[in-house]
């Protein structure tokens, strides 16, 4: 497969309100080409919103997000569709199309958005299903697959579009514990290809091993932004310290 092209992302004074709720309060953040950034923080801290703004599943209230130096705040219609087609998004609930087979889940956008001919789309789908270890399930429907298998197909679907950015919104949170490993293994392979990756996750093992940086958010602001060693060994913000303690030993902190 050809060398991965990856993109740079720059948040400029980004704010997001849902009605009166101020979810993101002035985010400034730059993610370099090929960086793997893990975003963590308590629920309701705005981390999902942070990545959903990049491909505009949610609209910006204020500020701008630059991709490779180009503003995206004003994009709509065709320009917005092109932006989205170049950004892979993996959902917590997988969101595979239940009426299509694993293979068809991947070929649909290749044919209808990218415009590939069917044999090409099928070939690429099969390569990717092979890559995520799902080639024997290409004719299965999502309802016939386990959560981990569905998420692997969803990841294959996202990378089939040859995106320059991959966004993961808690990709393992809806999975049974024994299925988390297979999904993380696929993500590890992808992280090594040099694609720009933003991963909202609580999987600190993944963060420690693969992240270039860890961003900790709470109440809509970024409180920590550091490489993993620094983040884990020299956690500066008290709320980040508390969050990590809670993650490592939930019972202990609950009884504190």
């Amino acid at each position: 497969m050809s060398a991965i092209k990856s993109s740079m992302i720059e948040y400029r004074h980004v704010h997001k309100w849902y009605g009166d709720l101020h979810v993101l309060r002035g985010i400034d953040l730059t993610i370099g080409r090929g960086e793997v950034v893990v975003i963590c923080g308590p629920s309701g801290s705005g981390k999902s919103t942070l990545i959903r703004l990049i491909n505009r599943l949610d609209d910006l209230s204020q500020g701008d997000i630059l991709i490779d130096g180009r503003s995206t705040a004003g994009l709509k219609g065709r320009g917005l569709r092109q932006l989205r087609a170049g950004i892979g998004f993996v959902f917590q609930q997988f969101n595979l199309y239940p009426h299509l087979t694993a293979q068809e889940n991947i070929t649909l956008a290749l044919r209808r958005v990218v415009g590939l001919a069917e044999p090409m789309a099928v070939q690429r789908a099969n390569e990717l299903l092979d890559r995520v270890g799902m080639s024997d399930k290409r004719d299965s429907y999502p309802g016939q697959l386990s959560g981990g298998q569905q998420q692997r197909v969803a990841i294959a679907r996202a990378i089939a579009m040859q995106p320059q950015i991959l966004l993961f919104d808690e990709p393992t949170s809806a999975l049974d514990p024994e299925m988390i490993g297979e999904v993380l293994a696929v993500m590890r392979e992808i992280a090594k290809t040099g694609i720009t990756m933003l991963v909202v996750t609580h999987e600190m093992g993944f963060a420690r091993e693969l992240a270039d940086r860890i961003v900790f958010m709470d109440e809509g602001i970024i409180l920590e932004d550091a490489p993993p060693t620094e983040f884990f060994l020299d956690t500066r913000h008290p709320r980040a310290q508390h969050f990590l303690r809670q993650l490592l030993s939930p019972l202990h902190t609950a009884s504190e």
């Binding site: 599943l57 569709r81 087609a85 959902f91 609930q93 199309y97 209808r112 069917e118 004719d139 679907r157």
Partner: protein, 275 residues
């Protein structure tokens, strides 16, 4: 004193001829109104879910108006009131004998009765079908739309390839129910003089007073119609996701083909594309 039946008074001679005409007329009007209802349902649904207020409001008005008034009143309105508003030359033309527009059984489809019944039944059913499919659309999880958006699909492609196939599966049973209702409701067209089964049954009753036999036969005929129609429609049913095997006809293809045909849009992707 027991009840005695005289089936020959219904199933032979002129009454038998009338019944045959009634059966064919019910079949033709059901078929014509079903086709019309499918086309109108697509139009009404398209307007109802369009992003433009200018589309939604007329659709909502039509839906509420025709869903919440009695069909028999609607049929009478079209036949007695609206028909009279047509230009005289049209009315005369429709009233003429059209040899070319006679279907097997000698039933003319260009007549005020047949046209008003087809139009009335078609429109009445269309608003119900449109609302059933819309409910099916609303039942598709929001994540499906987000997944398609994130892949760069436009609004029409999302509807066509992601939402509608799932909505049609969700709405299948209620929609089939509407087509079955349409067949049964065609009996109301007797009120505007359409010679369908109920009309003929009443004619037999007033001809030889065989009310019990005539209505028994009429009831049996509707029952057969209903069972056959349900059987035919179940052939087109999108199979359930978990039970589907690769290589079967793609879910919703037939219904979508109807949708597309009505909109004049290419649907060449209907064929299965197993590897």
């Amino acid at each position: 004193m027991g009840i005695s039946f005289d089936w020959a008074g219904v199933l032979t001679g002129e009454p038998a001829q009338w019944l045959l005409t009634g059966i064919l007329t019910t079949a033709y009007v059901t078929l014509a109104a079903s086709l019309l209802a499918s086309i109108l349902a697509v139009l009404v649904l398209g307007l109802r879910i369009s992003p433009a207020r200018a589309g939604r409001w007329p659709a909502m008005t039509i839906i509420e108006l025709f869903r919440n008034t009695p069909l028999i009143v609607q049929l009478m309105f079209w036949y007695f009131a609206a028909f009279g508003l047509l230009p005289l030359s049209w009315r005369l033309w429709i009233g003429n004998d059209h040899a070319w527009a006679r279907l097997p059984g000698g039933i003319g489809i260009i007549s005020p009765e047949f046209l008003a019944a087809t139009w009335g039944l078609g429109l009445f059913s269309a608003v119900f079908i449109a609302e059933e499919i819309r409910a099916g659309l609303l039942a598709v999880p929001v994540g499906q739309r987000e997944a398609a958006l994130s892949q760069g699909f436009g609004p029409w492609a999302i509807l066509r390839h992601v939402l509608l196939p799932q909505a049609l599966r969700n709405a299948w049973q209620p929609v089939v129910g509407q087509y079955l209702n349409l067949m049964k409701l065609s009996s109301l067209a007797t009120a505007i003089g359409l010679g369908e089964i109920t009309y003929q049954v009443r004619q037999i009753e007033s001809y030889n007073s065989h009310a019990l036999e005539a209505f028994a036969v009429g009831t049996a005929l509707y029952l057969i119609f209903g069972l056959v129609l349900a059987q035919v429609l179940s052939r087109f049913e999108p199979s359930q996701i978990a039970k589907r095997k690769p290589g079967t006809v793609k879910a919703g293809t037939v219904a979508l083909a109807m949708v597309d045909a009505a909109k004049g849009i290419d649907c060449s992707q209907g064929a299965d594309r197993g590897a």
